[in-house]
Amino acid sequence: MLEFSLNARRGSFHLQVECAFASDWTVVFGPSGSGKSTLLRLLAGLDRPARGRIALDAHAITETATGLHLAPGRRHTALVAQQPALFPHLSVAANVAYGLRSLDRATRAARVEEMLALTGATDLARRRPQDLSGGEAQRVALARALAPAPRLLLLDEPFSALDGEASDALLERLQSWLRENRVQAVMATHDATDALATSAEVLLLREGRLAAHGPAAEVLAAERERLATRLRIT
């Protein structure tokens, strides 16, 4: 269960959202600049809100009223951004192992292998990030994020460099793994097809405000109707 009530400013942009949801796959949908990435960075703990609270499974991880702000690495949250941000001086395997320092060597190696297999990147283990294609790098970034077993996975348009078929197959494997491991996922996208394809609960963001929240088909149909009406008027 993820709950948040956030008020944050980034330059002239103002994000003000309040929401709670328990579904294991939720899509944050909205046009560029609507606040999707800002919201995900706040949830990940990379940025602090001016005011607000975030709770994961009823435990507060950010609470400005009490000054609580758990460090990003201590809130069991992973974030996969559009830019994979792989460490260029480490091999793919070392990238995936980076967050597994507390495990012994054998367990760590097994975990790396498991995550690379899940994301279809087993053959890339010894390669360097600079030798990977955009799609391969995104697979590795996903494997690296999942390796420490987060409770909340945040995805910011993470499959943009994968072609449709590869993206669908990876998404299917990922969703099944998330269900098995009871990991809640939130994916930001500006693509309505992505939102519909995952048959998810959707949060619709518009100019930093929560415009709608509900089943994907309903929210997107209402949004399509709103846009059509606006076009007719203009």
Partner: protein
């Protein structure tokens, strides 16, 4: 050739560089990764020795570490001798004087590392120390080398602080720069030429050694 002064200069530069790195790396990381308005004041303070005339800095340190201040008396009581006019005093002065030459390249190097990589490491649970050792330093190796070279060579060539704080005690505070000054003062230009050539040679050799090492290790980014 004053081999004693030569050895002392090398020892002073090595000790100063080693101490500077242990201070400058965490300080540069704090300046780049930290938050708060006080960081600007801290950076200005760390840069101050760069713009302060060496003789002024040396004079302030001489007064501060001398027997007339509580700090100087406390240190003298602790060490059994005053810091001024001792090798340890020279090290303190050199560390302060060369601090910006170690901090500035590291700040520039750390700031050039993509913030997305820093965010990724933080999300994966990296502590500040691990962030520095596993991400910032490997990706800013060239800046680290620059910090080492600048600190070492700057200390080798320093004169004003050394003269003010250390005086001219053979084996304790007489460095090659002081020897060169004495030779010029005595109109011994042949010996002065020799000493100056050695100082120049040390600088060129240190640069050549360190940069050829950087080349061999394929260091590519700042």
């Amino acid at each position: 050739m004053d081999w004693q002064a030569f050895a002392l200069s090398l020892r002073l530069a090595t000790v100063t560089t080693a101490i500077l790195l242990t201070i400058a790396v965490p300080l540069a990381a704090l300046l780049v990764l930290g938050r708060g308005r006080w960081l600007a004041a801290l950076e200005a303070l760390a840069t101050l020795p760069m713009v302060l005339p060496p003789t002024v800095l040396g004079f302030f340190l001489l007064v501060l570490l001398g027997p007339r201040t509580a700090v100087g008396r406390g240190i003298a009581a602790l060490l059994g001798h005053p810091l001024a006019f001792s090798f340890t005093g020279l090290v303190v002065g050199s560390v302060i004087y060369s601090l910006p030459f170690a901090v500035q390249p590291l700040v520039a190097g750390f700031a050039s590392v993509d913030t997305a990589l820093v965010d990724a490491a933080r999300l994966l649970g990296a502590s500040p120390a691990r962030l520095v050792t596993s991400i910032l330093l490997p990706l800013a190796r060239r800046s680290l080398l620059a910090a080492i070279v600048l600190s070492f060579l700057h200390t080798i060539g320093e004169f004003g602080v050394v003269l003010m704080l250390g005086g001219d005690i053979p084996g304790a505070t007489r460095t090659l720069s002081i020897v060169l000054y004495n030779q010029v003062e005595n109109f011994d230009y042949a010996a002065a030429n020799h000493t100056a050539a050695i100082l120049l040679g040390m600088s060129v050799l240190a640069l050549a050694l360190i940069y050829s090492k950087a080349q061999n290790h394929g260091v590519g980014r700042a």
